[in-house]
């Protein structure tokens, strides 16, 4: 616990950023194969800057957690990875994002094709007003993949939902409880077998029991998928993630390292303040 009451002024901020970033990027990249990498990523919504020079390398088949106070740009960052920001007219993106070495903002890249390789789960469960079966089959359908009962079952099993819904696949997805809906959304996201699953605060709208089920699920998912999860819940990040990136206000990536390092021995004072609850 740091007793150091630091009010953060802009001078110290820029100092710390410059000496932290280079070594964290290097360290993470060395631990596993990098699947997604960003360099000097800047995002603007009109005149507001939402991300400020974010450079990060995210390893494959691990859980990477993005934490930080609200409005710090962590969701924006997540949405850059599957180009969901393209849907916002005023969003402007600067810098590079590579998926397995390919620049996904290259003119030749089709954002729709990109999203087919990257599943996404949202903060509020958003199943379509269709049957459970059709919800899971949605990705297969729009991506032109074959829809078989086996694949649906497999996806629902992977999302730990099969046993609860196997007799009511024709029922509307909206009739499920909130936690079940979120697991249905996870099943929907993984049914087309993406490379990466993005999760944007997937448990924040759920009760603790439902949330812990999702956490257990993430543990299992990581065997097959790379999971990048935004959370405002630091305990959750500590429990489930292998890597943790801390964003602070202004869209700045302050520190990125092994989760244990971040939580036990952060290099940056502001990260320590944030983790101990003094900030944000």
């Amino acid at each position: 616990m740091s007793q150091n009451e630091s009010t953060i002024d802009s001078e110290s901020e820029s100092l710390i950023t410059t000496d932290v970033q280079p070594d964290t990027t290097a360290e993470s990249a060395s631990s596993a194969t990098t699947i997604v990498e960003t360099e000097q990523l800047n995002v603007y919504y009109g005149d507001d800057q939402a991300l400020d020079d974010v450079s990060i390398a995210i390893p494959e088949n691990q859980v990477t957690a993005l934490i930080g106070p609200s409005g710090c740009g962590k969701s924006t960052f997540l949405r850059c990875l599957n180009r969901m920001n393209d849907l916002i007219d005023i969003a402007r993106i600067d810098g590079t994002v590579t998926l397995r070495g390919i620049d996904i903002y290259d003119d030749a890249v089709d954002p729709v094709a990109l999203r087919r390789k990257i599943g996404m789960v949202f903060q509020k469960p958003n199943p379509f007003p269709k049957s459970i079966y059709d919800n899971v089959a949605y990705g297969l359908k729009v991506q032109g993949k074959e829809i078989t009962d086996e694949r649906i079952e497999e996806a629902l099993r992977s999302a730990a939902l099969w046993d609860e819904v196997k007799d009511q696949l024709d029922q509307s997805g909206l009739e499920l409880s909130g936690g079940q809906q979120q697991r249905l959304c996870i099943a929907r996201a993984i049914a087309p077998d993406p490379d990466i699953v993005l999760m944007d605060e997937p448990t924040s709208a759920l009760d603790p029991v439902a949330a812990s089920k999702i956490e257990d699920l993430i543990d299992e998912l990581v065997e097959d998928y790379t999971v990048i999860i935004v959370t405002h819940n630091m305990q959750q990040a500590a429990r489930i993630s292998d890597q943790t990136a801390v964003f602070l206000t202004g869209g700045e990536l302050v520190e990125y390292d092994d989760t244990t390092t971040i939580f036990e021995n952060p290099a940056d004072d502001r990260v320590e303040d944030y983790i101990t609850g003094k900030f944000g």
Binding site: L99, R100, G101, I102, A108, V109, D110, A113, K117
Partner: protein, 324 residues
């Protein structure tokens, strides 16, 4: 997965899906473009025939002439719009005398006094007033309202008269005034009302001296829309007001100031711009004749008036939207 595979996976698909995507986008764009084309078509249609008309009849004669007789029985053509404008003004002003105060009071009641339950019942009911076909209103005016007025207050009323038609137009345009005005009044922030109450004002004082002034631009914009609707109203007038394009006698006061007695225009048959169009359409539609072209000149006049009023109302309404 090799890099090559990823590259080919992510590159834009050419061919069928791509064509399909832009094809659907094009279809939707075309649908939206129909609305633009409609405006263009209206303007072109009106202008092309109106220009022919104005090459025959000078604009000054059209705007200042006091005789309207497009049917060449007897004296030959005469295209002076003034009697039509007088008829239109009579109807519009009389209708406004009903719709504007009643609509404003309705809006105040709905926004300031009514409970949410009463509002939920009253608002859709009021919309019915605007939903009744206008030919039905015209029929009501002709066979029920006029005889009732003749039997009670105005025995001198003609079978076809401007008064009953105006009454019906007034009733029909009430919801137009009330719904837009009520929107404007509901948009007034509660803090303003609280400030009024804080100064010891009664509900009446808050309504009339805080809410109404604060939403004035919205109220005025609703007035303009309602008046514009009354100007363009056709069937009520056609059925109930008849089709006599009369110039009312110009009287003079003792001091020599000319005036028109309201009774001369209200109690008698008259003709509006819209009615004269209907009357000509009842006769000759094949085109190429002067009466035919005069319809388009009248239509153009009507279109320009309503367009100006609509733009004006929009500009005024924007003020209150910006304010809160």
């Amino acid at each position: 997965m090799s890099d090559d595979a990823v590259t080919s996976d992510l590159t834009r698909s050419n061919g069928f899906t791509r064509i399909k995507e832009s094809g659907y986008g094009g279809v939707f764009l075309a649908c939206a473009a129909v609305t633009l084309l409609t405006t263009v078509a209206i303007i072109v249609t009106l202008l092309s025939d109106a220009l022919v008309f104005f090459s025959e009849v000078p604009l000054t004669e059209f705007l200042l002439g006091t005789d309207w007789s497009p049917n060449p029985r007897g004296r030959g053509f005469s295209f002076g719009i003034v009697p039509l404008v007088i008829g239109t003004l009579t109807v519009t002003v009389t209708a406004a005398f009903i719709a504007l105060p009643v609509g404003t009071l309705t809006a105040i009641y709905l926004s300031e006094y009514a409970t949410s339950q009463v509002r939920a019942i009253l608002k859709p009911l009021l919309e019915i007033l605007a939903g009744v076909p206008t030919v039905v209103y015209g029929y009501f005016a002709l066979v029920y309202v006029t005889p009732a007025l003749q039997a009670t207050i105005f025995p001198q009323l003609g079978t076809f008269n401007a008064l009953s038609a105006s009454l019906m137009i007034g009733i029909m345009t009430i919801p137009m005034v009330s719904s837009i005005s009520e929107d404007a009044m509901s948009a007034v922030p509660d803090s303003l009302r609280q400030a009024g109450y804080g100064l010891g004002a009664t509900k009446y004082e808050v309504s009339t001296s805080v809410v109404v002034p604060a939403s004035l631009s919205g109220i005025i914009s609703s007035y303009i829309l309602a008046i514009s609707r009354a100007i363009g109203e056709t069937m009520i007038v056609v059925v109930a007001m008849g089709s006599q394009a009369n110039m009312p006698p110009i009287r003079e006061t003792l001091l020599g100031i000319p005036y028109i007695n309201p009774g001369d225009v209200l109690f008698e048959s008259g003709m509006t711009i819209t009615v004269s169009m209907i009357q000509i359409a009842g006769g000759d539609l094949t085109g190429g004749t002067l009466p035919y072209d005069s319809m388009f000149a009248l239509g153009l006049t009507l279109f320009v008036i309503t367009l100006i009023m609509n733009v004006l109302s929009d500009l005024i309404a924007q003020r209150y939207r910006e304010a809160y």
